[in-house]
């Protein structure tokens, strides 16, 4: 049975997609059959893998689930790593989910895929919407990239409150520090304050702000596919190892 890991944040531009792509790649390199579901209509993850959705694929097919979804899974250039590319019509996914009046629609769809994979990563669009609510229920873990500023702490608190209000399992939420710039005083202060705070449970390994990660838009490949020994590749690998340990220990 696959473990489902959603990369989620209320905010955009915090490194969700970068983390999805590189953590999933690290999982595959470690020998696990891995699937990325690109749920963001912007399709950034799909773009990084040079994958386009089939013309006929869209939100309706996604919601039909089963074969319609399986048919549209594509192999990436990397062994053991597949992707379900995003379609532009996902931008109206909220409407469709509103019609089905179900907060578990996506959970059902991903459950059908869990037999074929060890890990399923969900790259999510920002905001709290019906889609995100579905995702919170479908995912075993909700991994949240946080840029260490006061604002992102606030959004994390907001997310925790939302989980509490909706009676969702708060233990699913696993934040990590993203785009960290150690030369900045603010980053250091915020991290020092939050790293040990038991109510947040931050992962120990941060992802630094690195030009190499920014350049992924040009290379269109996971950082470790270029040079597995680079600082960025190492950072994601260590973050993955920590996350994988946490998941297997339970």
């Amino acid at each position: 049975m696959a473990k489902t890991i959603a990369l989620y944040s209320i905010k955009g531009g915090v490194g969700k997609t970068a983390a999805t792509v590189n953590l999933a790649h690290a999982a595959a390199v470690a020998g696990h059959a891995t699937l990325i579901c690109d749920l963001d209509p912007q399709g950034a993850a799909s773009y990084y893998f040079r994958v386009r959705p089939a013309r006929k694929f869209g939100r309706k097919k996604l919601l039909q689930g089963g074969k319609e979804v399986e048919k549209n899974i594509k192999g990436t250039d990397y062994e053991l790593l597949d992707i379900l590319p995003a379609a532009f019509s996902y931008r109206k996914l909220d409407l469709s989910l509103g019609d089905t009046d179900s907060r578990k629609a996506l959970k059902e769809i991903f459950r059908r895929l869990t037999g074929d994979y060890d890990y399923i990563f969900l790259d999510c669009p920002p905001n709290i919407t019906l889609v995100s609510e579905n995702i919170f229920r479908a995912a075993d873990y909700v991994v949240v990239p946080c840029i260490p500023t006061t604002l992102s702490t606030l959004t994390l608190t907001k997310l925790l409150d939302f989980f509490a209000a909706e009676k969702l399992d708060r233990r699913k939420i696993i934040p990590f520090f993203s785009m960290v710039e150690t030369r900045k005083r603010l980053h250091r202060e915020v991290m020092g304050e939050l790293a040990g705070a038991s109510e947040y449970r931050f992962l120990q390994n941060p992802i630094p702000y690195l030009a190499e990660i920014e350049r992924m838009g040009l290379t269109r490949a996971p950082v470790a596919a270029g040079f597995a020994g680079s600082p960025a590749a190492r950072a994601y690998r260590e973050l993955w190892n920590e996350l994988a340990r946490l998941i297997t220990v339970g």
């Binding site: 059959a33 040079r50 994958v51 899974i73 594509k74 192999g75 990436t76 053991l80 074929d116």
Partner: protein, 533 residues
């Protein structure tokens, strides 16, 4: 998911240019890049009866140690370090996925080194206009060589030592979700009329001269109007081949199954001679007693093999505190087995054994009663068609089994069940010999019923025999028949524990007898073969 899952491999002729397909793909508008060529060397292993191949598995040892794959799709089941070799049985491998997958398939059989493979491979990546990988194609040159080792139990290949020609293959590895490039590649290859290889390993084994069918235990197909003597000879020749095939492995002591298969063939030979009556000349009589002698000479060794194979099972039957008591017993058994093995091996290497087998083989090759000249006496049934004889023999054996079985009640002595087991066995032999004469849908249900009955009676007998052997051992302990006096009490306790378990099991099997027999008796197809008026 696993990209190799849908890989297609084709045999190609040596004159096909490796670059042909990549160039054609490039002409179709794909971006094609060649990766660095690679060379890999590995050695393939399997059991004497091809158990891995038969289960779709492949065990190879290469630079990174042992790897167990799916023979068709290349899916990896597990790895183990290969340092130092000496991995003969599954329990020689470290615990892990490889051993877990291996054990149920090969059981007690030894892994034999079979062939060395050197694969030179050129690989091209085919990419679309987004520079996305959509197909890989690979050209492979495979140099194969049979592993030469002193105790190789396989028959030598007919043609002499020259290394076989290298083989060439073309592999297409599609990427999930990209069907079109693969279709285009297949269309390009279409005019070349290539033959796909579904199981490359089998192909390689044959290429170096292995006969994958040689050890097949199935009995040959008979014709209903054959003279009975011809049918009997066909059966006997097959058993003879199986015996000869297993000799080398017995003498080299590779695993216990060589002797077991040898003895099964021996028993079937003897059964065929006594079940198919009046087809062999009086001059063949002495072969029967010689085969019986052969069986006798290996009885003790087989018994000891069976005890030693049961070691783990026996340990599991006992609580942990009694398990250690078994160890001195097993070491005594292992010592005795060593002596028995030497005796048998020496005899089988000797002139007398070889003479007997040669004579028996000559007789089987030359006996042709249907060619007999006028006036030469031919055994009464030799020329009669086999089908009516088979029907008659099956009906008679079935009837005897029914009569004796019906006479058994809950209070009948154990001996009655032992006797019934022999009746059952006789019927089983007839099925083994003659099943190919009857429509499968008629005879198979009856064979299955008989098998179930025989399993029940066999288990009953087994539990009895094991208890007898243990009792015997207990008595020997009492007489100081073991050097391990210190472990005496522990050994006695362990034996006591085992006998208790075994007799309880025997009782359970005994209670199942009535039901199993009823099922046989009531089997609709049974009435077809043995109508009882």
């Amino acid at each position: 998911m696993n990209k190799l899952k849908n890989a297609k491999e084709f045999l190609v002729t040596p004159d096909l240019a490796p670059e042909y397909l990549p160039e054609e793909m490039s002409r179709l508008g794909y971006r094609v890049t060649e990766e660095r060529p690679s060379i890999s060397k590995s050695r393939l292993f399997d059991t004497f009866d091809w158990r891995l191949l038969g289960s779709g598995l492949l065990l190879a040892r290469g630079r990174d140690g042992y790897q167990l794959y799916g023979a068709d799709d290349g899916r990896e089941f597990g790895r183990a370090p290969g340092k130092g070799g000496g991995h003969k049985f599954s329990h020689d491998f470290p615990a892990g996925p490889l051993r877990e997958a291996l054990t149920p398939v090969i059981a007690m059989r030894a892994l034999l080194p079979l062939l060395d493979l050197r694969a030179r491979s050129r690989c091209w990546e085919i990419r679309n206009r987004d520079d996305k990988l959509v197909l890989r194609c690979r050209w492979r040159q495979l140099e194969v060589r049979r592993v030469a080792w002193r105790s190789d139990p396989h028959p030598r290949p007919a043609k002499g030592g020259a290394a076989p020609e290298p083989l060439h293959t073309l592999v297409l590895e599609p990427v999930t979700g990209y069907r079109k490039p693969e279709r285009e590649a297949l269309a390009t290859l279409e005019p070349l009329n290539l033959s796909p290889v579904s199981r490359l390993a089998a192909h390689l084994y044959r290429h170096v001269g292995f006969d994958l069918e040689a050890g097949k235990k199935t009995v040959p197909q008979l014709g209903p109007d054959w003279p009975a003597a011809k049918a009997a000879l066909e059966i006997l020749r097959h058993q003879y081949r199986v015996m000869r095939l297993n000799e080398a492995g017995i003498i080299a002591d590779l695993d216990s199954e060589f002797l077991h298969d040898f003895r099964v063939a021996l028993r079937r030979s003897r059964a065929a001679m006594s079940r198919i009556k009046k087809v062999l000349p009086a001059s063949a009589k002495h072969f029967r007693s010689q085969l019986a002698d052969l069986a006798r000479r290996s009885n003790r060794l087989r018994d000891l093999d069976v005890y030693l194979l049961q070691r783990e099972e026996y340990r599991q039957m006992l609580p942990a505190c009694l398990q250690e008591g078994l160890e001195p017993i097993f070491s005594v058994l292992a010592e005795e087995r060593g002596r028995e093995f030497k005796k048998l091996a020496r005899w089988m290497k000797g002139a007398e054994y070889r003479r007997i087998m040669a004579k028996w083989g000559q007789f089987l090759a030359s006996y042709e009663p249907w060619q007999a000249e006028d006036g030469v006496a031919v055994p009464a049934n030799a020329l009669a068609p086999v089908l009516p004889l088979a029907e008659e023999a099956i009906a008679a054996a079935c009837l005897r089994l029914l009569e004796h079985g019906r006479a058994i009640g809950p209070d009948s002595p154990d001996e009655a069940l032992h006797a019934l087991r022999l009746d059952c066995k006789k019927l089983r032999y007839l099925f083994e010999f003659f099943a190919t004469l009857f429509p499968s849908e008629e005879i198979t249900p009856l064979i299955n019923r008989t098998k179930k009955l025989q399993d029940n009676l066999g288990a009953f007998n087994d539990f009895f025999v094991q208890q007898e052997a243990l009792r015997h051992f207990l008595a020997a302990l009492g007489r100081g028949g073991t050097k391990h006096a210190a472990g005496l009490a522990a050994a006695a306790a362990a034996i006591g524990g085992l006998i208790t378990r075994l007799s309880r099991e025997q009782g359970r099997v005994r209670r199942d007898f009535a039901k199993t027999f009823k099922a046989f008796e009531g089997c609709g197809n049974r009435k077809k073969f043995c109508p009882e008026e």
